[in-house]
Point group: C2
Chain length 220, copies 2
Amino acid sequence: MVDRGEQKQKTRHLLISSALKLSAEKGFASLSLREVAKAAGITPAAFYRHFHDIDELGLALIDEVGLGLRQLLREARRSIDPNRSVVRSSVEAFISYITENSNLFRVLQGERQGASTAFRRALFTELGRFIEEVTEDLEKESIRKNQPLLDVGLAAEAIVAVTFTVGAEALDLPKHKRPELSERIVKEIKMILRGALAMPETTRASKISTPKKIKGKASR
Amino acid sequence: MVDRGEQKQKTRHLLISSALKLSAEKGFASLSLREVAKAAGITPAAFYRHFHDIDELGLALIDEVGLGLRQLLREARRSIDPNRSVVRSSVEAFISYITENSNLFRVLQGERQGASTAFRRALFTELGRFIEEVTEDLEKESIRKNQPLLDVGLAAEAIVAVTFTVGAEALDLPKHKRPELSERIVKEIKMILRGALAMPETTRASKISTPKKIKGKASR
DNA sequence: AATTTCAGTATACACTCGTATACTGAAACG
DNA sequence: CGTTTCAGTATACGAGTGTATACTGAAATT
């Protein structure tokens, strides 16, 4: 005698994870209800006990993706090694996460321009949340280091854009080439952060005259 | 009496543009040979006179996309108004281009993570070319203004990533909100450029990286 | 003018698709 | 208990799929 709701939940999740796997291989848009059902080991008709549509499953899938993303960020925060650059350890956490959850990430990236507007909107919302969290992190860091940043939100947006775009390449790369990719991302992020630094006096003009020494703290 | 090869070329192009239109609506991955053929006004079987596969048509489509991109860049260069920022006019050219050729752009973005490896590889090649052209532009500007830049290639990569990622949002935005989007992109690009500036002497000091444990404040 | 070439048509095939309908059998419930 | 609920099955349908095969008719070649 097995619990009923529990069993249903289990099947539901099986459907989602099957869809995730298949989506990563051939794109969510080209999935058929039947093949998802088959992959989950149930009859096509039984599918309707869980979702009344493939698109409804899609939305559930996006929730899953969003959850994964937020976990990733938390993980990255947690694993910060004070001896290493925050940026570097975050990026490395990100890369290792997306290569381990490549299905999740492929769907996230692939469906960004895909299918329905509702679909896209849901994804954008998730991404927006992600950017927001990065923004908060940046603000905290900025205060902690006493290095004021301008347009933190924009910086976060740019950082996320770069990380996701360039990071996506990792999925097609042999493992040994990934560190090089990480390095590239790290450099680009630091570039953005440098550009976001509010520099006393000289901020507005992009031509740098002679920036004054930054704050008293010796940086070494 | 009509020229034969010419007529064939015409039909071929009709197939491609039909596929483009349909792809933008529902994603290339979910296209069927039959509906593309029907949209182009020919019989399914006649499709095989032009491509022996839907994926082969896909590759042709990517060529088209790449061509469009390079045209865009050339256009952006041409329309530079010395009274306005190069960045701003380029970004605006880009936004107006992708909203006018939204089909092309949707496919480009959507298929980046899509389908086959061959497909993706072809797209990356096109994007690589694009980044390369931006790199060259940056180098020229850098010399013209006598403002040396560091890691120009990386800066170009970041700029393209940001422009494409954020720019993609324009497609779902009502026209009157697009200038605001452009503004955001412009700011982020300038941020990157500022970060790429090789600053005399003080460069190191303002870097945000934390190569070693910072001995800073006794914050505990 | 006779012949060849070939883009496109017509038809037919075996599949897969989404979905509707009637069912089964065990967990949940009164 | 017996009854109800309901996740999952079995089957069947019409519609769309990719592709093979034989064809047509006009442009191109000889």
